[in-house]
Amino acid sequence: MAVNLGGLPMKNPVTTASGTFAAGMEYADFVNVSALGAVTTKGVSLHGWAGNASPRIAETPSGMLNSIGLQNPGVEHLKTVELPWLRDQGATVIVNVSGHSAQEYASVIEALEDGPVDAYEINVSCPNVDAGGMTIGTDPSSVEAVVSRCRQATKRPLIVKLTPNVTSVVDIARAAEAAGADAISLINTLLGMAVDAKTRRPKLARVVGGLSGPAVKPVALRMVWECYRGVSLPILGMGGIATGEDAVEFMLCGATAVAVGTANFSDPASTARVIEGIERYCREQGVDDVNELRGALKA
């Protein structure tokens, strides 16, 4: 079941999607975080952000919208509270990094270089903040600038998280590759809206938010497939994964590893269940090594 995601060894291909699992402490009653391929932590910025007004979520058909807005207490808190806990659990750790500028992303990484971190995921794709996030991730030259700056800050594996809210995701993936990324992850949430017709109000205080859950899986699969064929970087695939079979579909489309996000909300043991499901699939299909699945789509 072991895979290698751009220099990050994982004991199995399953991690958590940033922002849906905090740093894992809240899920410790349901899953053993050291049994996961990795734990990807909630987006962290240099000094912390307050996030957006409530309501921050709305349920939509087979999905949900969120506009949390990267609320986080800052990198120092992560270093002193969550990272030591993850280290004690024996977890493999991917820290999801946010910033308003190339410099802030790099500063977060610099602050973490002496910490127990196995890889960084650079979030240039959050739709819920006004500066940084998706405004960077939709522009190839901004992506290149941020990733190059982060590349200077670390030798650890650098995963760049891409937004689906673009015309050509491959163009953005190429910019990340050119700037020295070790892997890409996709997809972040799709920008969307929900409206209450009776009150004529948006269901989110911020009006727009990011769509996630099973509803986005077809879009995510398509983009993983495009990137698999368009760039040579390994891919961390996500978007609506709730079962082992969902995860296998992403690997067939080219993903090396996968992340489970929104599914944690309906079943807090989703990550463990997805790992079991992949193992069962491999047993039943006579697959000896999960790496055989990568890109094995018969298309």
């Binding site: 922002g19 849906t20 699992f21 905090a22 809240e26 899920y27 009653d29 349901f30 909630k42 307050a50 996030g51 409530s54 309501p55 921050r56 979520i57 709305a58 349920e59 058909p61 087979s62 999905g63 949900m64 969120n66 949390i68 609320q71 859950g213 099973p214 929104t262 944690n264 909300f265 309906s266 079943d267 807090p268 043991a269």
Partner: protein, 269 residues
């Protein structure tokens, strides 16, 4: 606090008023561990295209039958679907209850007299508190408000527990008790008790936010400790996703695990 996701069986699901139902679940672990004011994050079977769980406060528990009761109002797709599930159907087996979630009511140890104020289905999460206060010999009075007499679904249970002197009701339509909102009854109860020389020293409120804000304000003006139960949209229900934040004097807090019960003077309304 240890959380678990307990497979639960729906054993009763009976009408309790207009759009109101009481659902009873066989859930031994939850029945044993739930504290007053805590809630269960419910996976309702047969509506998988609705991907989020629904949070419901525990109204009552029965240690002998290992069951918990939930009083719910039909307001949308999930509660409508729930109200249609028969305990005899296959779906009845398929519930999941994450619990016991959250910080419940915590009256100060020195509480000598308590006022409980419940608006609408907000009467339910206060019932176990009333039982626990009674068990400790702390006199409690409850003020209940609802739109109509028929919607006062918890009145009988409170009458059984506390007796009629300590159950006061208001209805919006004037069909029973004091006409109008129950805030006036709450304020009167506070003043009357003070005048009698047996003032309330703890108030617990659950219901619509304006009700909680007003009662918390009245309590504060009289120097009485007050707790409120804050409802927010929830995704994870375990403290991880930050969907459910409440603005407080100490910054943003998560309603699901830092609450749902908060000190009324801490909340920035």
């Amino acid at each position: 606090m240890t959380l678990f996701d307990e497979r639960a069986r729906l054993v009763a699901n009976a009408g309790a008023g207009p759009n109101l139902f009481v659902a009873t679940f066989e859930a031994p672990r939850l029945a044993q561990s739930v504290q007053p004011g805590q809630f269960a994050h419910m996976q309702i079977p047969g509506m998988e295209s609705h991907i989020l769980r629904r949070p419901f406060s525990v109204y009552g528990r029965n240690l002998a039958s290992q069951t918990v009761d939930i009083l719910y109002q039909v307001v949308g797709a999930g509660t409508r679907h729930l109200s249609g599930i028969s305990p005899r159907s296959d779906l009845a087996e398929g519930f999941g209850l994450i619990g016991p979630v959250g910080r419940g009511w915590s009256p100060p140890a020195a509480t000598s007299r308590a006022l409980l104020v419940g608006g609408g289905v907000g009467a339910a999460p206060l019932f176990m508190l009333a039982e626990s206060l009674k068990g400790q010999g702390v006199p409690a009075t409850v003020v209940l408000g609802a739109q109509t007499h028929a919607a006062l679904a918890c009145e009988a249970a409170y009458l059984d527990l506390l007796g009629e002197d300590d159950v006061r009701c208001a209805t919006d339509d004037g069909s029973y008790g004091r006409p109008g909102f129950c805030t006036s009854l709450a304020t009167e109860a506070l003043d009357q008790a003070a005048a009698e020389g047996r003032p309330f020293d703890y108030v617990a409120v659950c219901g619509p936010e304006p009700l909680m804000r007003i009662v918390a304000q009245e309590a504060r003006e009289r120097g009485v400790a007050c707790e409120v139960s804050m409802e927010r949209r929830m995704a994870c229900g375990v403290g991880a996703c930050l969907s459910c934040v409440v603005e407080t004097a100490l910054g943003k807090k998560r309603s699901c695990v830092d609450g749902p019960v908060f000190d009324g003077s801490e909340v920035l309304w």
